[in-house]
Symmetry: C2
Subunit: 347 residues, 2 copies
DNA sequence: TTGTAGGCGTTATCAT
DNA sequence: ATGATAACGCCTACAA
């Protein structure tokens, strides 16, 4: 004796029948609404009913449909994260921090790579807006005017990361690149460097690296040192660019006795190259990096650098978002992290 | 003179009015269906109409609602990617490869971190199933029975990566860890190493690393060498674990003259530590890594390692998925990449 | 504690 | 080339 098992008559072509809430309801002998409650707010349902429904859910292998849920509730469970690139360990770590905080809350993270391009960022924002994400987590404070408009009009919370040196659109979790650069500059001054160079991403492409340069330049100026020689690299950068930067400094500013690299990957490559060439670090050339990369403490001499903890930055960003979503009046619009200068052997 | 501008009467609390397709239709003087065509398949609409509609879209700042789209079309534009951790540059690179291929096709990538736990993986799969993704891209060939069931029943395409040493669930893009390990073993044999050690993630947690061990052990056996001393590390690993592994080998198997590390991060840390301690590489101790990490070529001696190109693996995985989605009968169920042994100074 | 009614914004299907 | 109608699967609001 057969009877119809599923309310939805049509099934996937070659696949299993599509089980919906009303299938479960029918199976359990309750209304669809009760099934909805069991899935979403089980505490509102009497225990006996709840168990009955849960058994039906298991028996039918019911899997809620997130799209239907989103449409009916006018809200998604997605956060959009846009970073320049996943190739850089600092951004990957930031994303990991975000996921670690959001995943337990049932929120998925979708990632966009802007490749350091404001136009790409704008396009990604436009596309991701269609998903009505709970929030955006962006890198830096600079965006195309249209991107800014889109975000504003959407009314969706935005957290900007990696930079607190100017006014955020909405929320921010980051640090002052200028202050961090200034600390490095002061260290170089204190250790007696006179001719300092800076190697990093181009100012137009990487406003954060530029901030570090500005801060360092300021410290040098305060100490009456000559302005830094600057090498601007095109993004994205590989470790090879560290060596290229080193070469350019050595050739075009041979008096240089200290280099501040905007990222540890560059600094480490340069430091290892110095070892190979017999350039003595820090006696002949002091080297300072940025990021406190995993191997920074292990090279010889160990790399002096700035620790920024991007994973924590990601978590703070996610926290700001969650607080806003929980409807709390913003306790703080902006979390300012404090990078830590770690002095080791190289400078 | 005012008139009602929006079909949807209710607006977001403090935000902009919610613009829907029928608002656009009204504004342009066409039916909603025509707007839908303009958005999705503009070639089906007469040019004059199309332009009129596109103007209305711009004028009203219309943004399609992906949830409604998914519900009506019974299909999403999401691919789910589950990796052990984003902290490891190889997995981050893989994800980047996937995104680079999918983003241009309008497909978003949601990421899950399993933390090397099959249970976590299963939970993530269950959650992400609610989004009805176009496909899953997983790491490795081992999954909990329930995870396997869930995937099978869903009928959703699955690509498994990083391992082709046993039978995949569905599609696969990876390489043979056993073969790669065997190559390393052969190299060590050829260079005259006699007492080889292996340092890597525990076999239970990391089946891929175990495959590399097995392959290497086989090569040693074939050459009549004694079995390798093995150090199994708990995941996740940091570079410090490379030093811990080195120490354990040096203490418990002092005759060791070569170590194969399952990841470059470990090998580099160990190599740098050897430099610091005055252990001569490769004369006293040969070191081989895995992954061809960015800095591998820059240390002294340069690290002998195996290049795997995880970004390409990610792209291949995405391609397999796209081919399947395009309805093509599977031309290949499995893409087997060929890792490349790169011999440098350390072994 | 549970059920009913209605609608969320789009696409599929069939007409015209 | 365009339109009308009916789902899609769930949640909100209200009623019982």
């Amino acid at each position: 004796m057969r009877r119809k098992r599923f309310a939805s008559s049509e099934n996937a072509p070659g696949g299993a029948p599509v089980v919906t809430m009303s299938d479960v309801a029918m199976h359990a002998g309750v209304s669809a609404q009760t099934v909805s409650r069991v899935v979403g707010r089980p505490e509102l349902v009497a225990e006996a009913t709840r168990i009955k429904v849960q058994e039906a859910i298991r028996a039918l292998n019911y899997i809620p449909n997130e799209a239907a849920r989103n449409l009916a509730s006018k809200s998604s469970r997605v956060v959009a994260v846009i970073i320049p690139t996943l190739s850089s360990s600092v951004f990957a770590a930031q994303v990991k921090g975000i996921i670690d905080l959001l995943e337990p809350r049932g929120i998925s993270v979708v990632i966009g790579n802007s490749e350091y391009s404001m136009l790409r960022e704008e396009q990604i924002i436009q596309t991701l807006l269609e998903r009505r994400p709970l929030g955006f987590i962006l890198t830096g404070l600079q965006h195309s005017p249209r991107a800014t408009d889109l975000l504003r009009q959407s009314g969706i919370p935005v957290v900007e990361t990696w930079d607190t040196d100017s006014r955020p659109l909405d929320l921010a979790a980051g640090f002052s690149n200028i202050a961090a650069g200034h600390e490095v500059g002061s260290l170089l001054v204190a250790r007696g460097s006179r001719n300092v160079a800076f190697v990093g991403g181009s100012a137009k492409q990487d406003a954060r690296a530029n901030g570090r340069f500005v801060g360092m330049a300021q410290a040098l100026a305060e100490a009456g040192l000559p302005p830094a020689f600057r090498v601007e690299l095109l993004l994205p950068m590989s470790s090879q660019d560290g060596i290229r930067g080193l070469d350019e400094v050595l050739q075009r500013a041979p008096m240089t006795d200290a280099i501040f690299f905007s990222a540890d990957m560059l600094a480490l490559a340069a430091l290892l190259e110095c070892n190979r060439r017999g350039v003595r670090v820090p006696e002949q050339l002091a080297i300072c990096g940025f990021g406190d990369y995993d191997l920074a403490a292990l090279v010889t001499p160990a790399l002096t650098t700035v620790k920024i903890q991007p994973d924590e930055m990601g978590m703070k960003a996610a926290e700001l978002l969650l607080a806003r979503l929980d409807g709390a009046p913003d306790r703080q619009k902006s979390v300012v992290l404090r990078p830590q200068l770690i002095r080791r052997g190289s400078a």
